[in-house]
């Protein structure tokens, strides 16, 4: 009807393709090749990895890295948790049993900051939290750490922070890796499927 020739390229397409395009057999071979490499890539999923950097040592913030680490281990992940700064206290056998909950700076606390700042208030809020943990049968930090170690989670204690805090390597739980630094953590993160900073 019109003199527009826009139909023509479509009509020509099969002819044009015949010249340059690979043959059906070549395509089939290519598909088989891709399927094979996809299968190999999928096989690698068995070796999933998670890398967590734990920087906090308050009672509330000690939980997330340990819960995620033990759960990921249950999923078959290869898990590394690199502990630095106050996060190191989670690995410290004695200090891990006395982690505190800060009463100030947390607007969800039932105490106004002016009261929360009074001496001894951290002890009060920590006791309240510990009682809640006990009442709810929530696992303790020690239990989670021991469970995670049993499941093969690798806990690393940042050497720079150990020196800075003047901790003794013997103070950490058995199985904790010492003598590691940021480069080790970075390497783990680069290899990992999941990387988290807590």
């Amino acid at each position: 009807m019109s003199t527009d020739t826009s139909d023509t390229p479509a009509d020509d397409a099969p002819d044009a393709a015949e010249g340059d395009a690979p043959t059906r057999a070549e395509l089939a071979a290519r598909v088989a090749e891709l399927e094979e490499s996809l299968a190999e890539a999928t096989d690698d999923d068995d070796g999933k990895k998670m890398s967590i950097i734990a920087t906090k040592g308050t009672l509330d913030m000690a939980y997330p890295p340990l819960i995620l680490a033990s759960t990921a281990a249950a999923f078959g992940y290869d898990v590394t948790v690199f502990h630095t700064f106050w996060g190191l206290d989670i690995l410290h056998e004695e200090r891990s049993k006395n982690l505190k909950l800060s009463s100030v700076g947390n607007p969800n606390m039932p105490v106004p900051n002016a009261v929360a700042a009074l001496p001894g208030m951290d002890r009060v809020t920590t006791k309240l939290m510990e009682r809640k943990i006990d009442d709810n049968d929530t696992a303790t930090i020690e239990e989670l750490l021991e469970t995670s170690l049993d499941m093969g989670v690798e806990f690393q204690a940042c050497q720079m922070t150990i020196d800075l805090m003047d901790y003794d390597e013997a103070d950490f739980y058995d199985g904790v890796t010492t003598g590691v630094g940021a480069a080790t953590a970075l390497q783990d993160m680069a290899d990992a499927d999941i990387q988290l900073l807590v």
Partner: protein, 81 residues
Amino acid sequence: MSAEYDIAETLDVKGESCPMPVVKTKSAIDGLAAEEVLEVLATDSGSMSDIDGWADGTAGVELLAQEEDGDVYKHYVRKTE
């Protein structure tokens, strides 16, 4: 429902909360032989979603059923390999 399965082992995690039901289920499954079925008894309501998610994301296990029996959540997991 439980009568449908030949249960090799029962794991009682009643009273325990996240992440213990999943973590202990994993350990118990590790101790079973292929095709054996593990029964998990939990009171954590989060275990319904968590054990489902764990079974889905873990090779070698199959979640056969989940049911509520009063306050107890029952999970049936078969080790497939």
